[in-house]
Subunit: 205 residues, 2 copies
């Protein structure tokens, strides 16, 4: 595409560097901003810079935070004996939205993936092991995605903490609430039968 | 969604103000930027601000430009006797990409739409009429979209310049090159038969 303006071309290029946004969408967004009041672009651009320069990661759980220790970790009402291990901050948001979990989190920042050159030390695994060693944690819940990389990561962590006396659990896999059995994939359906639970428990929520 | 960081929340809100981007996509983009080097956010945010503050509109054709008169209008190789009337700058880009047009453009900035309160004077129509009155233009090509608003706009401009001796044309509507006839809609197919052209002409491109 030939642009009549270098300024526009720059913006289109920079926006199209974002994942899932091509040149066409990028141009549409740039032209939209040009039609809107100047403050909108101003606010967007300032918010971006402020976030990138000032954001912190909680030193306890590695969640995104504006302060040293995030709101979840510093909340005295949360049970610090239960730690849920997740891949990234979006998983924290998703679990928080359920209002079913009152423990703390530990954000790994990814999964072990030899193919992409990501080893245990590239992730927040050492600090997790430290946390377990300290003796404060009684239960570790693995809530990584059930892919090969997720399973590898779970297994690696499990092996590292095997000798410490803590409970390790993993979130339940099964048919989604409201889903029809006939459309479920075999693996999920199979697992949901193997891991069946007492009927009374299903009445609790 | 409850965010653990106000800075992140702000960015997610600002990005989701863009058309076609919801909260979820917005969060994905924000987290992507956090994982990238700081310069990427810096460049994006600077490009946005620079564009919004410094961009100009060509005083001749109202196309987006970095200078007073855009590259197309100031190019001596272009035929200023033929003016193509388009809705917005994206149409200019699209036509320029075909390399089939060597005349100038006139960007209206929208279509007449009483429903949205857009009248002829909210668009760049007066300057177009002036251009025709000046006598420099020999042919006006209407290239607006063929919607009710597009047709209204075409007709309005046509009525205003009727008394001046210039040729007015409209771009050909028909079956797209490479398309199967059986899948074409009736109106388009009908028009393509009514507006058939001498076979020799179709060999030119």
């Amino acid at each position: 595409m030939e642009f009549s303006s270098k300024l526009l071309e720059n913006v289109v290029y920079e926006i199209s560097q974002l994942p899932g946004i091509g040149k066409r969408t990028s141009l549409r967004l740039a032209l939209h901003l040009l039609r809107q009041p100047q403050e909108q672009t101003q606010k967007l651009s300032e918010a971006l810079q402020k976030m990138r320069n000032e954001i912190k990661f909680c030193k306890n759980c590695h969640n995104i935070s504006d302060v040293e220790v995030c709101e979840i970790c510093s909340n005295p009402n949360r049970n610090e004996e239960i730690v849920c291990v997740v891949e990234d901050i979006r998983d924290v948001l998703a679990i928080e939205n359920t209002s079913q979990f009152r423990g703390l989190y530990h954000v790994l920042g990814g999964k072990i993936s030899p193919m992409d050159g990501i080893g245990p030390n590239d992730l927040n695994i050492p600090t997790l092991i430290e946390k377990v060693k300290s003796g404060k944690v009684k239960e570790l819940i693995f809530a990584l995605s059930s892919t090969m990389e997720g399973d590898t990561t779970n297994f690696y962590i499990f092996k590292q903490i095997e000798t410490y006396k803590i409970i390790t659990t993993t979130i339940a896999r099964g048919i989604a609430v409201g889903d029809e059995l006939e459309f479920a994939d075999e693996v999920t359906l199979g697992r949901s039968i193997l891991n069946r639970i007492p009927f009374e428990n299903s009445l609790k929520i």
